[in-house]
Amino acid sequence: MSWDWHYAWSVLPPLLRAFVVTLEASLAGFVLAAILGLVWAVSRMAPVRIVAGTVFWIVEFVRSTPLLIQLYFLYYVLPEYGVVLSPLAIGILALGLHYSCYTAEVYRAGIEAVPTGQWEAARALNLTPRAIWLRIVLPQALPPAVPVLGNYLIAIFKETPLLAAITVMEMLQTAKLIGAESFRYLEPLTITGAVFLLVSLLASFAMRRLEVAHVFHR
């Protein structure tokens, strides 16, 4: 079986449409992971023991189980509780939840890098806990976290083929269906792989530029 340019050309449009789904899932999953991770990181430092402890175990639990199991779990179990979501929505939810437990660590490192003197000076100025977080701690903790978060965006992007398992029409799933119809897998799978390679390389390059820009900031 040799490479057929005609065939490759003809399968490109549906694959690129599926690429849009892949991008949607990556970006939406990342935004969810970025927000939830921050919620975990801040609640883990809550003065209320139960809150901090509960969040600690949620994060440990999610991090210690495979994403694929979490995908299947949400896909099959949520409907039993009357929560009916599209496969894509479930995919985004799972990616966001799973990776939030990694971004939480990134935020935690950023927060812990803020010297205790900053907290004390802020408390001595009678700022409320909310103002201390929003005006003093997070503005110092978040900028160093940005490049690391960017790496998780790339990681999430590369994980999206897992969503094929729950019938999301992202690139891999589309390539599989095209291949099954025409009995030719070489071209659709190669194109899919090449797109992942290209986007990952571009994104890594952009991340490095961002890191450099961050280092030289001010």
Binding site: E120, A124, L125, N126, L127, Q140
Partner: protein, 255 residues
């Protein structure tokens, strides 16, 4: 309840422990309204701890702490959050290592708390901040970033930041100890000016004995978490009663 004679700060039977280590035990201390007190003593004797307890930055394990009559702790029981904030509003604190907010300009360092805590309007807060910067000799640095300042300038900004909330009591924790020697003078000069021109109560932890002598109404020497001796500067420095005070003074001030 409050009267004119009421002290600015009152510590009664205060016990402070970090785990097994007892830092203060049955600690008693008063700072009179308008009084300037220099708190001296060897490193590790608990001076910072006293200031941090007053600022409600530390829990205690027993005793009573009042700020202008407002209890922060009553017989080992903490005040609620609202009351703690009310007590804290009377105090300003300056730290050894400045703790300026590095992501904010000098002006924003001074205006943040007045705007958020005292609900001042932005222009009003800025105007007051500029006046305070002028007072500490740094009005040209309003737009600078903290990292662009020398240590002495940082500490003067930190003093102005604490003053911006218009406290009645100022706490200074070794505010010149982290400075290069040539910058100590400019900061002490600001303290001296504050001491002479305001009626604020001041509690100053310092190793600058010559400055303490001219600045303070009263000097308190503490060691091992207890007040060993207290009195007017001429007496405590000139004619200390306690042997431990004499030993300490002979070590810190060359004859």
């Amino acid at each position: 309840m409050s009267s004119i004679a009421e002290p600015a700060l009152e510590f009664r039977n205060v016990t402070k422990r970090y785990g097994e280590t007892t830092v203060l035990e049955d600690f008693d201390f008063q700072l009179g309204a308008g009084e300037k007190v220099a708190l001296i003593g060897p490193s590790g004797s608990g001076k910072s701890t006293v200031l941090r307890i007053a600022m409600a930055l530390e829990d205690i394990q027993g005793g009573t702490v009042r700020v202008h009559g407002i209890p922060l702790w009553l017989d080992g029981v903490a005040a609620d959050r609202a009351q703690t904030r009310r007590a804290r509003a009377r105090l300003g604190m300056v730290f050894q290592h400045f703790h300026l907010f590095p992501h904010l300009s000098v002006l924003e360092n001074l205006t943040l708390a007045p705007r958020l805590v005292n609900k001042k309007k932005a222009d009003e807060a800025a105007e007051q901040a500029i006046a305070l910067l002028r007072r500490v000799g740094l009005e040209d640095k309003a737009q600078a970033w903290p990292e662009q300042l020398s240590g002495g300038q940082k500490q003067r900004v930190a003093i102005a930041r604490a003053l911006a909330l218009q406290p009645d009591i100022m706490l200074f924790d070794e505010v010149t100890s982290a400075l290069d020697p040539e910058m100590v003078g400019e900061v002490l000069e600001v303290l001296r000016e504050l001491g002479e021109t305001t009626s604020m109560s001041m509690l100053l932890v310092t190793h600058e004995m010559a400055f303490a002598r001219q600045f303070a109404d009263r000097v308190v020497f503490m060691d091992g978490g207890k007040v060993v001796e207290a009195g007017p500067p001429e007496e405590l420095f000139g004619n200390p009663r306690e042997e431990r005070t004499r030993q300490f003074l002979s070590r810190v001030q060359p004859m």
